[in-house]
């Protein structure tokens, strides 16, 4: 099922995102792929990771024997706390999010639309158990929303679309999209391709993108 390998792999995507996070930023990483970003913060930069279940200053994963059921991230995985970390309750944690105090949030996506609408919480399938978590709070509250996603679905369908067909997480909330093929900025004037992976050209990119793409 895996197509011919091209574009960036996940680690390269994570590295690219991490490279664009400035020194001193407060960053929330979504569950799953986005968690990779923490591994690639460039030497010399201090970035503080927030997890919405009540910790500012998330550190690296612990060794197996140091895992603590009561020290986990939003994905319920064991983490550590850095020096200078702090714990707080859920209302304070989301005050940080909703109040605009988190600089950057990296999230996955089902779909992103041309004007930056994001769908990443529900495929809207009948019979599915709806579950939203903190996604809607994050997209409305965090200053810069970065999407970390494969460019297309496993079946090759575009995830960057004219209009989202899945239920929205938020409207006009996405600032940047990092895919295996390209880095795309979402602006008031449309989607601009900032960078393409080696071996990807603009025509190819357009062919697997439903939304209109522009070049700077």
């Amino acid at each position: 099922m895996v197509a011919e390998i091209k574009g960036w792999n996940r680690e390269q995507m994570a590295q690219k995102i991490a490279g664009d996070i400035p020194d001193g930023a407060y960053v929330n990483l979504g569950i799953g792929l986005p968690e990779l970003v923490a591994n690639y913060i460039p030497e010399g930069r201090e970035v503080i990771f927030h997890t919405e279940n009540g910790l500012l200053g998330v550190g690296p994963s612990p060794a197996k024997e140091d895992e603590d059921d009561e020290l986990i991230n939003a994905g319920k995985k064991p983490v550590t706390a850095i020096k200078g970390a702090c714990f707080f309750h859920h209302a304070d944690s989301f005050a940080m999010i909703r109040g605009g105090h988190i600089d950057i949030c990296v999230l996955g996506a089902f779909q992103v639309s041309e004007n930056g609408d994001l769908a990443n919480w529900s495929t809207g399938e009948p019979g599915a158990i709806p579950a939203v978590g903190g996604a809607m709070d994050l997209v409305e509250g965090v200053k810069t929303i970065i999407i970390f996603t494969q460019h297309t679905t496993k079946n090759g369908e575009p995830k960057i679309v004219k209009e989202c067909t899945y239920p929205l997480t938020g409207k006009g909330v996405v600032s940047h999209i990092y895919t295996d093929y390209a880095v795309i900025d979402v602006t008031d004037n449309g989607m601009f391709v900032r960078e393409m992976a080696p071996g990807i050209d603009f025509e190819f990119l357009k062919s697997c993108t439903e939304a209109e793409l522009k070049q700077y």
Binding site: L55, N73, A91, F94, I129, L168, G170
Partner: protein, 237 residues
Amino acid sequence: MINKVAKTAAEAVADIFDGATIMISGFGEAGSPIELIHALIDHGAKNLTVVSNNTGNGHIGLAALIENKQVKKMICSFPRTANSIVFPELYRQGEIELELVPQGTLAERIRAGGAGVPAFFTPTSVNTPLAEGKETRIFDGKPYVMEFGIKADFALVKCKTADRYGNLLFNKTARNFGPVMCMAAKSAIVQASEIVEIGSIDPEIVVTPGIFVKKVVEITNPVSENQLIRENRRYPW
């Protein structure tokens, strides 16, 4: 004399009545008051509305309470997790109601309930299906949804340290919803790993002031939800 210490979990949950609204702390396996929930299963109160971030894991704790058909409605943000088996099945069968609330809105609604704020506006969920049917309003050119405070009859909360006044300290990310749930419940019932003498807790570091707590019970070595799930345990044992 003020003494909020109950001798057993059973005694602590004894007043819970059929039809009560109960907040239950925890985020995944961190901070879930398993022993209190199991006492509530033994107690048997029915038709409960439960406010909790998740719906429990495996067949213990909150999942076991749901499996035991004591819960008619869940108010939560993320009802399905890797190990949640019970809720999805009952929900598909139409045997349990669900009110889905974004996580931050859930936390803020609980705090509002505890702080005497009946309603507030939030940007979260604007233009999404979760805002449907809700009042929206523009402030400074930006749309917001009106959300209501939530109160509860009881809260079941897990913490690390308590005193007989009900002052509480929590452990790491097990703090999560505990403090705001204590605020929003008429009777907050708390299990603590240790109950210490009055005066042993520095007044500067109290996380939940005793005024928000009705009962505390010492559960010295609380079970590990993860461990029970790995062992595929069920409650009642």
